[in-house]
């Protein structure tokens, strides 16, 4: 590639330096050598003058020629596709597979490259919202460390070479029916993959198919299978539940189907006035999750004891008259809590819901199904369905595969995605097993731990580059590519179809073939186009499965689980899917690594989470190093004390310690080496001891706050209840205006003349703290939409994190057992903004429509505006954070937003690019703006619809109605800054019988 400037189709040029400006041959020659001829004299200090004159000449030449405008090219199409209007983005619906679940997406594409992922508004599962994983996939697509070539034992090869090598081997298998061949895949729920896997097993009946995920819902499926007699999954209907009990289930974020569950759950917590009701959430958990943060009542119980708790609850339900036989347990739980809980559940029979988390063993899930059944919840708030297109993970079959590999029984192994060497349990040495396999293939996005040990490595195409399909919540859907594979990657359908068929096939044809079966051959073209356009087919392919109460009861009664678990005094270790990396798939994703964990607010590292008491016992404090060992293996992790965690529990995050690229290397430690098959989720038999040294962690929880020791610690403590205004539903009903009561009575006069904002569009926002779960989807959506840079761990430690919307997390109440509340804060767009008056160059001004504007090209980096902002929402580019961004990552940037250079201040703009584009579009069409035409990125991502944005001059707009509610208040309203963003006070709905305890805890804060 020449040094030539390569503009995008819109003709924008980015030139790194003067070197690029002029392309005269003389100049090129001059700068090709770093120092021109004669510059060896540099070594002789006497010739400094000569050096200067030489460099001066080249600089002068550059300088002179740079008086000319840089030549920029415009490159149109040769044949322009009809549907593309350069300059206007297009939106395509597709789906994102995620284990056995999927998300419906609408992806924005600029000139043929996808730039932003949104939820598909019409998809029943997402309703237009996103979660952090959906947003993060944008950067995964443009990962510069993605594998780019087919490798044959580490050497570059090609897809055709792979195919011809396979053809030779396939001959033997066609004869012996596949004896000695195995496929290892990740779990999936896809009609095409299921059809192909069935075709494969038909062609090679002696082969084996193994499915394995390191984080899966396997326990839930097993538990439900015991209760129903069939492989089935629970489907929740939170909309109908008045009472929800979560037993270690982070259903608002980390467990499956978090988006529809969060949305349905929050829909029962929308309080418009004191006449509305709320659902009630009880959470029993060992760690602190955001679901626990939303709880009205939370009980800390060690994870290994939660099954006992469920049994104790079943006892109580039986004592209160329900027909359930609970196993005897010998554990001690808060009697009052259980009694009140049981009473509440029974009182809401048919309208309650008990949910179990994926880490709990199968026995607990069977008991949960039984409890739901006796509470008459089955087929009301929970139902069970069988998905014919689903292939679920099975640890047992994976262990068997590994045993067969060790015994040399597997000659050929094709691994479709996943990373078994990294993700296998610690007692499986998958790499050693691979050595005994003659021919192994790994289809993977990076040349990772597994690919280093297989014969062939095939680069995996991202789902945004492939044809495929999904089947799950809300129906079945098509995955359509937004861009041709960047690195000639192949999807799992490509590889599998190649194994099954004799000729070369294209995934598109294969998927179409599956869907001819689903849609019918008559009128297929039209029906196909409709499904591809919509993204999904509403008629579900899942079949209902009936609950079998007697079967479940039998399994529970005979289970030995309840009498055999660990006592509460022994240290338990739990392995959690990481909020940032999940099972490791986002380890090389800078956005995710830098996104602070919602509860701990730690970025870039994984930590050993433990409670304050446990830390005291072990003699460690924050950032100390802890050596966690079992069976002769140990891992050293930094300590992080988590208030509200159960004692004697150590929570370790999976997915770290990978070295697949520039972002992942050196970040965190791989705890997978401690994860044995007997304790994949909750394990015992560990020792933990303090190790030498400390490990600095980049935690953002105290950033942008005032130094409490030096400044007004008491005053700040006094103010916090006014910053996050909280109450209970019953108190709110007695005193609906409580949110206003916090406001200080003395009103400051405005610092300057007030402007009349009575006319035209006036943008405002309101964030409902009752709905905000703290999931952080807004933060990462904002990062994707506004090209916010990644700055790295060191800079985050310096307090320079760049997210425009930060999610403050406050603990309230008892230090050991606090409650948690989240408050997302972005620029408040104050009408009397203190930042605007202090800019010496008027780089930040106020628009006619109420936006606090930022003109990046004017900013000289005084930082007085950030100093003056009381909310501390302004972000400064201390360095040129985009200097070393690889070209492929530039493709992920949104072209509608400027990229900021060093020395420039930035902040939330209320997505002014979306406002402008919508205004122009609407004006071109000759109509007025309607409420809902403009949806800002954070608002669009939020699964619980906590953020309302729109025109406050329009009394019928959603945001006006929300702002008119009596729970709505302005943050730091007493400063009379008149911010356009306001907050809806947080309400909880505690049970009055337990409330006395709750209140007592609050007042000790």
């Amino acid at each position: 590639m020449s040094n030539a400037i390569n503009p995008s189709a819109q003709g924008k040029t980015y030139w790194r330096s003067l070197d690029h400006l002029a392309e005269t041959p003389e100049f090129k020659e001059l700068v090709e050598k770093e120092f021109p001829d004669g510059a060896d004299e540099l070594k002789n200090p006497v010739s400094r003058r000569k050096f200067l004159s030489l460099m001066g000449a080249s600089m002068a030449l550059a300088g002179l020629t740079s008086c000319r405008r840089p030549v920029e090219k415009i490159i149109p199409y040769v044949v322009k596709p009809e549907e593309i209007i350069p300059g206007k983005p297009q939106y395509y619906a597709t789906n994102m597979p995620f284990g056995t679940e999927s998300f419906g997406l609408l992806v924005e594409s600029h000139e043929g490259r996808p730039t932003k992922i949104e939820g598909n508004k019409n998809h029943p599962a997402s309703g237009g919202s996103s979660n952090v994983f959906m947003q993060a996939e944008m950067l995964n697509l443009y990962d510069p460390d993605r594998s780019q070539m087919v490798l044959n034992q580490g050497k570059n090869s090609s897809w055709n070479a792979y195919r011809s090598a396979w053809k030779k081997i396939a001959e033997t298998y066609t004869e012996n029916g596949g004896e000695g061949m195995a496929i290892l895949s990740e779990s999936f729920a896809s009609p095409t993959m299921m059809r192909l896997s069935e075709a494969f097993m038909k062609k090679f009946p002696q082969a084996r198919w193994v499915t394995y995920d390191s984080v899966s819902d396997e326990n839930i499926f097993s538990g439900v299978q015991a209760a129903t007699g069939q492989l089935a999954q629970p489907r929740y209907n939170f909309k109908e539940a008045n009472i929800v009990l979560s037993l270690d289930s982070d259903f608002l974020q980390m467990d499956s189907n978090d988006i529809p569950n969060a949305r349905d759950f929050a829909s029962r917590r929308k309080v418009r006035s004191e006449k509305d009701s709320m659902n009630r959430l009880y959470v029993v958990e060992g760690t602190y999750t955001i679901t626990g943060g939303m709880a009205d009542h939370r009980l800390r119980v060690q994870n290994g004891q939660i099954g006992m708790f469920a049994a104790a609850l079943a006892h109580e339900l039986s004592a209160q008259g329900l027909d359930i036989k609970a196993p005897r347990v010998n554990a001690d739980f808060d009697k009052k809590w259980i009694t009140v809980l049981a009473r509440d559940l029974i009182h809401n029979k048919g309208k309650s819901l008990v949910v179990g988390g994926r880490r709990q063993p199968a026995e607990v899930h069977t008991l949960i199904a039984l409890i739901n059944e006796v509470l008459s919840n089955t087929n009301k708030t929970v139902s069970y369905t069988a998905n014919p297109d689903m292939q679920a993970s099975s640890l047992k079959s994976f262990m068997n595969l590994n045993k067969a590999m060790k015994e040399g029984k597997i000659e050929s192994l094709i691994i479709l995605g996943g990373n078994p060497v990294y993700q296998a349990p610690a007692d499986v040495d998958f790499a050693a097993g691979l050595k005994k396999v003659n021919y192994s293939v790994h289809l993977s996005s990076h040349v990772d731990e597994t690919s280093a040990n297989t014969t062939w490595h095939i680069p995996e195409a991202h789902f945004l580059e492939s044809w495929g399909d999904v089947s799950g919540y809300g129906g079945a859907g098509i995955i359509q590519p937004l861009i041709a594979p960047l690195f000639d990657g192949k999807s799992d359908i490509d590889v599998l179809a190649d194994l099954v068929s004799d000729e070369e096939v294209w995934a598109y044809g294969v998927v179409q073939e599956t869907w001819t079966g689903i849609l019918g051959a008559a009128g297929f073209e039209k029906a196909w186009r409709k499904v591809v356009h919509d993204g999904f087919l509403t008629s579900t392919r899942e079949t209902p499965v009936a609950m079998n109460k007697s079967r479940a009861q039998g399994v529970v009664s005979m289970s030995r689980y309840y009498s055999s678990t660990v006592s509460g005094n022994e240290m338990e270790v739990i392995f959690t899917a990481s909020f940032s990396n999940f099972d490791g798939r986002y380890a090389n994703n800078g956005w995710m690594q830098e996104l602070p964990d919602p509860v701990t607010k730690v970025t870039w590292d994984n930590v050993a989470l433990l409670s304050a008491n446990t830390a005291k016992q072990l003699g460690v404090k924050n950032e100390d190093r802890l050596k966690v060992s079992t069976s002769g293996v140990d891992v050293v992790l930094p300590v992080w004390i988590q208030p509200g965690m159960a004692d004697n529990t150590l929570a370790l995050e999976l997915g770290y310690g990978r070295e697949i690229g520039r972002v992942s290397t050196g970040v965190g430690a791989n705890v997978g080496v401690l994860r044995y098959a007997s304790g994949m989720n909750i394990a015992s038999g560990f020792t933990a001891e303090k190790a030498l040294g400390t490990h600095t962690l980049a935690c953002v929880q105290d950033h942008h706050g005032f130094d409490e020791e030096k400044l007004a610690a008491d005053a700040i403590q006094e103010r916090l209840p006014a910053i996050v205004r909280e109450s209970t539903l019953s108190d709110y009903q007695k005193d609906p205006e409580f949110a206003m009561a916090f406001a200080e009575k003395n009103e400051l006069k405005g610092m300057w003349k007030e402007h009349d904002y009575g006319e035209g569009n006036q943008w405002g926002m309101s964030i409902d703290l009752t709905s905000c779960t703290g999931c952080s989807a807004c933060t990462i959506a904002c990062q994707s939409e506004n090209n916010i840079p990644i700055i790295g761990k060191d800079e985050v430690s310096n307090g320079r994190d760049m997210s425009w919307i930060r999610l403050d997390r406050y603990y309230t109440g008892d230090v050991e057992d606090p409650e948690m509340v989240f408050q997302p804060i972005a620029c408040q767009h104050c009408e009397m903004a203190p930042c605007e008056g202090v800019c010496p160059v008027a780089a930040t001004t106020h628009s006619e429509e109420g936006l606090n504007e930022m003109a990046y090209n004017r900013c000289i980096g005084t930082r007085y505006c950030a100093n003056n902002c009381p909310y501390k929402v302004r972000r400064f580019n201390f360095f040129n954070y985009t200097k070393d961004v690889p070209e492929i990552v530039e493709m992920a940037m949104n072209p509608d937003v400027s990229i900021r250079f060093r020395g420039v201040m930035e902040k939330c703009t209320f997505c002014v690019q979306r406002i402008n584009v919508a205004k122009i579009e609407v004006k071109n069409e000759g109509r007025g703006l309607e409420d809902g035409d403009i949806v800002v990125a954070c608002q669009q991502a939020c699964p619980t619809d906590a953020i309302a944005f729109g025109n406050i001059n329009d009394p019928n707009s959603e945001v006006s109605k929300v702002k008119a509610q009596n729970r709505d208040y302005a943050l730091l309203g007493e400063l009379n800054l008149q911010p356009r963003t306001s907050y809806g006070a947080k309400l909880r709905n505690p049970n009055p019988d337990l409330e006395a305890e709750h209140h007592a805890a609050e007042h000790t804060a």
Binding site: G11, V71, I75, P76, K88, T845, S898
Partner: protein, 216 residues
Amino acid sequence: MAQIFPKWTNKAPLYAAVGAGLTLVVVVGLVWYYASPWYTDVGYRPAQPVPYSHKVHVRDLGLDCRFCHTGVETSPVAGLPPTKTCMNCHNMVKADSDKLALVRESFKNGTPLEWVRVHKSPDYVYFDHSAHINVGVGCASCHGNVAEMDVVAQHKPLSMGWCLDCHRNPDDHIRPASEVTNMTWTPPTNQAEFAAKQKELLDIKAPITDCTGCHR
């Protein structure tokens, strides 16, 4: 005692001061003009890879601007025509001309033509063509009389000050929709009246002068 300084030195400081002041004013004025887009950008007329003449196609043959620059009413970007648009005629008209060799090559090989961009605002400025065309700003208002150009030259500075001159006082530049591509339109005597009526008809108030109108 002899005078050290001749008489004229009495006035010297005054002349020096005035001279320096005038020089300063002249230098500032020169920089103000010569360093501004009025000098550096107006008249920019780069050589294009293919000698496409607007004079021939627009003035003589009567093509409308929108025949090729199709994005102008719907998109922020006016765009250049794809090679196919050229070939629609030129596979028959002047099919063997040497001047069109690059065009034919582009069409045959599928490699696009690389035109040199003439009108450009900085990367941090987001200009939207459709917003302007749809309220009646004519092509010639910013691009000059393109129909008379053999080689496209930049006619106006496209600087922020120049944009604001119109944004703050747009009435003279609003045309009826039919006149937008008319290269020789001049505002009629009743322009003020017409502009007022047009603004009401299209329901447009003042054009945006806030920073974020263009700087995002």
